[in-house]
Amino acid sequence: MANSVNISIEAPIENQIQEITYDGQEIYQAPLSMSENLARLAQKIDFSKSDDEFCNIKKEGESNTDPKPDDDSKDANYQSSLWPWESVRNKLRNALTEVCVLADVLNIAKEKRYMVLDPVQPEQVDNRPMVQVYGRKKALGAAAAVLLAGVERLRASENMRINRNMPDFHIDLLRLRQNWRLKKVSNTIVGDLSYRTAGSKFSQTGVFEVTKAPEEQMMQAMSMNAAGPAPSALRVTVPPELQGVAFISVLCQKEQEEVVTATLSSSALSCPGTLPGDGADLHWQQKLEAAQNVLFCKELFARLAAEAVQLDASIPHMVVGNQIMATVLPGIQLLIGLCHNNGQNNANANPEGSRPEGAAGKSDHDHVLEHSLHQLLRAVHHSNTHHPFPHPATGPLGPSKRRCLAGPMAADRYELLDMSKEQSLLEQIIQQAQHFFMRRRSEYVLDTIAKEVKDPLIVSHWNALNSPTQSCVKINIMAYGYDAVCRTSLVVHVGEKTLKCICRDGKVRHLSYELQELRDLIYCQIYQHQMTAVQAVGRCMGWQLLASSSHLGSGPVEPLGNASSCLLASPTGDRMIAIRCEPSVGIQVFIAQSPRKDFFASELVQDKKWENLGGAFKEIKLDKMEGKNFLNKMELLMACLSSPT
């Protein structure tokens, strides 16, 4: 018993397997119930067939009855012989059985007490087409909905663009392409705003990215300003170092003790605000132009800073942060600063910038010099790309025109060396600043002299044609009313550090930047003018010039120039006018009469003839005389002295 083995006994499958689940379990069809079984069996009864069988039997019986004496079928013969109404009885019994069965069936069907008649499902019920049709209809409907949704989306986006007048990305891109360099790098559109193609050699790149503006933002922008210009469908992204506004500030100022602190703060002040409008709202063209300007200013400043370090000036240039300091003239500094306001460092620039000196610092900014700087760098760019012919078609380099001519002209070493020298931007701008100062100072000197000296009028005419480093002024010295009689004109060429004066007599004088020299020269010219003018007036009045000297050796030494004098005699010869002109004192006029009308013989002078030698000169108080100016007074004096009475 201990070693008993479990034997599993399984009943043979009596029922049909309906399904085998994944775990191997078999699900059987439930056995038919009695009623079902009966119903199935009853259904199997073929009344017609059994009828036929009966008929066949009957026929057999009939056929058998006819050949009665046949030995072949003893059994049948025996029956028929035994019971001739056997077949009838059988038929009747069969009929009775059938009727009974029918009655039973009817009873069962009618009473429903023990059994129920159920319609048996037909084996193959074909309700499939309708389900499939509905299913397919639904499926097609769903597919169509998907298609329609897709179409609707396309159409909606197209409609929105057309109806709301949304800008087209591609149109904008075309505009952008026509103005800027673009290329496609993998999936992004990248542009270049640097001046490389224009001849710049600055290392910093000016790459910007073009993207499509999100539609919501566009909608927002459109709703914000419906009347304004349509927003662009493009968005350009410039690198942060090129964002904002930049400019080169150029200041000329007197040298200060604390240069660095003073200048740095003043340059930070003059930084302008951001561009009008927010950064995102800005049109791409303006944005790119601003970025390009930033790049340009950076290049300019980088170049200037490099030059400032390289140049060995007598007073070294200083580069501090974003500021270059150079001495233009003794005591005057040129400050070149790079102001870049990209919105980020605005915060730390502002605390200082809120001071009221900001306006003053801004007004000092020299726009002309700033413009010149821009012009100079552009000229450099231009010369980088435009080489004089002939040059190799492929080579970007070529000898300059002067170099080309150096061979045929047999230039020597010094000339060639001279050619290789190139003026740097900083030198050029310093020259321009120097010239600017020289011009301003000369203007000031001439104007103040014109104010100080009323008698001969000093009229200065500035020439309209001039270059950034040279201008020219013509000075006329004349007396009011006597401009036809005598006028002294001189021309002053204002250069960078020197002045060149071309006087009336053809003498050329070179003056330094110290403007006292110009002042002295003009004063000398004024007195010289007075002397020549008096002589000219005298000539007109018929007076005779006895003597004139522009450089008198007598008298005290003049601080500037020399005293000059002249001596005039009246037409009759009995009156004389002596004029002495000392620039430091002024003009003195003396008159003398000889012979005097009344002569009294004295012990020393006994004869009247000695009176003709001329007598003592008496000074005339010019300021008490009538007359508009010196020449007028002299004319009146001469007229007075000429009259016989």
């Binding site: 299913g135 769903a142 597919a143 897709g150 290329k183 104007d447 309209a464």
Partner: protein, 141 residues
């Protein structure tokens, strides 16, 4: 196409053509499949699945195929946009034309400005001469 394009450009253009063909083919195939499903040509007898499951599967398949058609359509739109972009970025003749036009415009503008400035300068110079004369000869300085 006849120009000597760089290889990658050529490849890009070819890829555009293939994209076009693929998208159109995808549209057509998906449409045909939908029609076939609708017709029920697929033999039902061999399917092991229940009818309802089969119908569900067909429904989903149709939806997916319809979505494929939509995708192909949008891909075509994208292709159109890409081709436009390519044309805009690489159409150098038109860009050159635009540049020439711009430079011509700016040159004429520059000339105009120069002329105006010159005449302005001449006028101002003449006036300045008179004004200087007047100022320096007057007693008010």
């Amino acid at each position: 196409m006849h120009r000597n394009l760089p290889q990658n450009k050529e490849a890009l253009l070819k890829s555009y053509t293939t994209r076009l063909k693929e998208d159109i083919k995808s549209m057509l195939e998906n449409f045909e499949e939908i029609i076939r499903l609708a017709k029920g040509e697929r033999g039902e007898s061999e399917s092991q699945l229940n009818r309802m499951t089969q119908i569900e599967q067909d429904t989903f398949e149709m939806q997916v195929r319809a979505a494929n058609i939509v995708r192909a359509g949008e891909s075509l739109m994208k292709l159109v946009s890409d081709i436009k972009q390519y044309l805009i970025l690489n159409d150098f003749p038109s860009v050159n034309e635009a540049i020439t036009q711009n430079s011509k415009l700016f040159r004429t503008k520059q000339q105009e400005c120069d002329q105006k400035l010159m005449s302005l300068r001449d006028d101002i110079a003449a006036d300045l001469y008179d004004l200087e004369d007047e100022y320096f000869t007057s007693i008010y300085k």
